[in-house]
Symmetry: C2
Subunit: 434 residues, 2 copies
């Protein structure tokens, strides 16, 4: 993509209302723009990151055998009256009326709706087990939206729902999602700590939250240092034994930790850090399948209510979490897996015909090789171009200037480390296309 | 995908409230499920079609140089007060209040918001021309939602907005979108008729609607038969001359046609057919850029309001339009470009070990070859499997049965024509992987 044809409103000023670094950098790097309190438009660069994260989340859901569908954003209040949650849910639920004065709501979650859909489509034990998921915009009317997309009101979430014949099946579905979560966060370049969670109003007896460690996190965590020894490779090859290893290690949110009389972790191994919740999984049994009358015929002819679980990932929030975990003084440092472009190509002298010719040619070669490239072909000073590339945080910067061209070289800079090297165009291409 | 692990609630009954064939078939084929009046959940098979259509729309927008972003579904009423449309827009706009009693609305379109976003990000003539687009759920509170996704309330739309320095630029952007639309509809296997449209409340002087010809269309069209001579190849290679050729031919909606005193088309060449509106493009000039104060510095230092246009495609509605245009007694007949799977593989005897072994093996080979396959591995009668495959309308059916296997053959059926042929597994694979 040529920057002269793109829409990338990068700003130097840090907006006054942005308190945390991810919020500041998302605004400065032209990823988002606020359009109302806690509601954001995703500008072209931000949308590319969002789609990359969404794709990884989707791949891991599919890999776990979950089937994708898409539920609408608006729901009928009657649906929530069936489960009893319409009145129970607080003012975070955005309630509205349509032109016929019917009570509607903007879905904050979808347990009721998916239960209804499953009820209509499944009859017998042959239709189970199933995990259904969608990735859809949701709304929670936060009283004080802040921290940018980390605590916004309209946000993108992946929510999955499992349906099983018995508790043993539910446990298997729960484990499959647990593995999917470990893999998802590892692929996003994040270290996620699973924390046993109280089940609260959603009910049920088994629940874990997944937290990204970051100083600006809203939760305080206490955990066994051994959790930090679990490697990325361990997570990418996670199975039931990985879950057993992780859940066997102490990890609690402050509130729960405070209730523990004798912490089983010796003081020298107890870590206290802040975390950002990016995922939450629940096994809640028959709460919705019973209240909404889902009846499934078993092999022996009896009728049961399926055992259910629900599994959420905050897709849009993850962008904030990734930036909190990966940035420096100059701006964002994207992990390769989610970077909006792999390479930022800089033409140092757009007013120099030879330099522009060389940069144009290199851009064409990168595109041909399938390397996602943002090409700064603007007629601007080199300093402004470097600052832009640093703040938007693409993994590689490739710099074409008249002096280097005389020597037959271009400069390659790795954003994460700042390392620079001069090399021939051919070598640069070979490196980046790899 | 194995049907035993999928979620495909196919039904035999035709729902009473479904009046038109696309609505009936979408419900029968398990593509959608209504969750409230005019609001639908997209079941797994329907979502795949929706994504395929979305991908084609996106490719053609990108090809035309448009840049994708994503605006939120909810908007602040204040934004619409700036343009004066908040009070002007009728009861189709879903108005609501958040917990702080602020007026909000669920966006039916995005002229105001994109103008605001552009205003913040563009300063000078260097930042123009631009076409920005998004593909997002919108809401129009139809008084009587009907015809399934054709006139639903929550619907998926692609809307693009162009910004140019002058009217000549606007005309070029309008033409680029016109070409994109011709190519998009041709790739979707549809014949679209561009009809000159009155500009109405949106203002401006140039507007075209794109209609798909179908007996159940809501509009009555009158047009020159020569329009039918424009071929698919003409449309796929469309340029300014194609637009000139098409817009030079008479085509009007009934209401406008009735106002024409002397129709320029001789009676024998005047066609009257019904159409489904699937796209609408407008050039409306400075209506929003002036009212919302967008100021751009030109090369000579003066300030202007950019010339704007907007360009919509009803993405979810297109599914209904495609089915209206492509179905038979037995069900849907998907064009290859949007089919949810390319092949439906039928195991005729899931209770026969040899037959199942052969079908499983073939399924593995199709997956390996990258052929999107829905594998009916259920323990059901052959008749039920044929009916399911016919109603969901995948382009190819591949039938594995004990009798064929004895002769070393499988059966390949082309859904569109009903043609069947027996051939070896190797030949079938070669044919389908092509």
């Amino acid at each position: 993509m040529r920057l002269t044809r793109y829409f990338l409103p990068v700003t130097k000023e840090t907006p006054a209302d942005a308190q945390i670094v991810s919020h500041k950098l998302m605004l400065r790097a032209g990823l988002i723009r606020q359009t109302a309190a806690g509601i954001y438009a995703w500008l072209p660069l931000g949308l590319r990151v969002l789609k990359n994260i969404e794709a990884i989340v989707r791949e891991e859901q599919n890999r776990a055998g979950a089937v994708e569908l898409l539920m609408p954003t608006l729901q009928s209040a009657d649906l929530w009256r069936q489960s009893g949650r319409y009145d129970a849910y607080g003012p975070e639920m955005l309630r509205l009326k349509d032109r016929h004065d019917r009570d509607m709501l903007y879905g904050p979650t979808n347990e009721e709706m998916i239960t209804l859909i499953f009820k209509d489509g499944a009859r017998s034990y042959r239709d189970l087990p199933r995990i259904l998921y969608h990735i859809q915009w949701k709304f929670r009317d936060e009283v004080r939206p802040r921290f940018g997309v980390m605590r916004g009101r309209e946000f993108l979430m992946k929510d999955a729902y499992s349906f099983d014949l018995d508790e043993d099946g539910l446990r298997k579905s729960y484990e499959a999602m647990f593995v999917a979560y470990l893999r998802t966060f590892a692929r996003l370049g994040l270290q996620a700590v699973p924390v046993k969670a109280p089940t609260g109003p959603i009910g049920g007896d088994l629940s874990h939250e997944f937290h990204i460690l970051a100083d600006t996190g809203e939760s305080a965590l206490f955990y066994d240092a051994a959790i930090e020894e679990v490697t990325r490779d361990d997570l990418l090859s996670a199975d039931a034994s990985t879950i057993a290893r992780l859940t066997g290690l102490y990890a609690m949110e402050e509130e729960e930790h405070a209730k523990v009389a004798d912490c089983p972790v010796p003081a020298e191994r107890l870590r206290s850090r802040r975390g950002i919740e990016v995922g939450h999984i629940f096994a809640f049994g028959t709460k919705y399948s019973a209240s909404m009358g889902v009846s499934i015929q078993t092999k022996d002819g009896s009728q049961i209510h399926p055992q259910m679980g629900s599994y959420g990932i905050g897709v849009s929030r993850l962008i904030g979490a990734i930036i909190e975990a990966s940035h420096d003084e100059a701006g964002i440092v994207w992990p390769e897996s989610v970077a909006p472009f792999r390479v930022g190509l800089i033409n140092m002298r757009a007013d120099d015909a030879a330099c522009t010719h060389a940069a144009d040619r290199l851009y064409g070669q990168l595109c041909e090789a399938g390397v996602e490239t943002l090409y700064d072909d603007r007629d601007e000073r080199g300093g402004a171009k470097f600052a832009t590339m640093d703040v938007i945080g693409l993994p590689w910067q490739l710099i074409v200037g008249p002096k280097g061209l005389e020597k037959g070289v271009v400069e390659l800079k790795r954003r994460a480390t700042g390392e620079r090297e001069e090399l021939s165009v051919e070598s640069a291409l070979a490196r980046l296309a790899g």
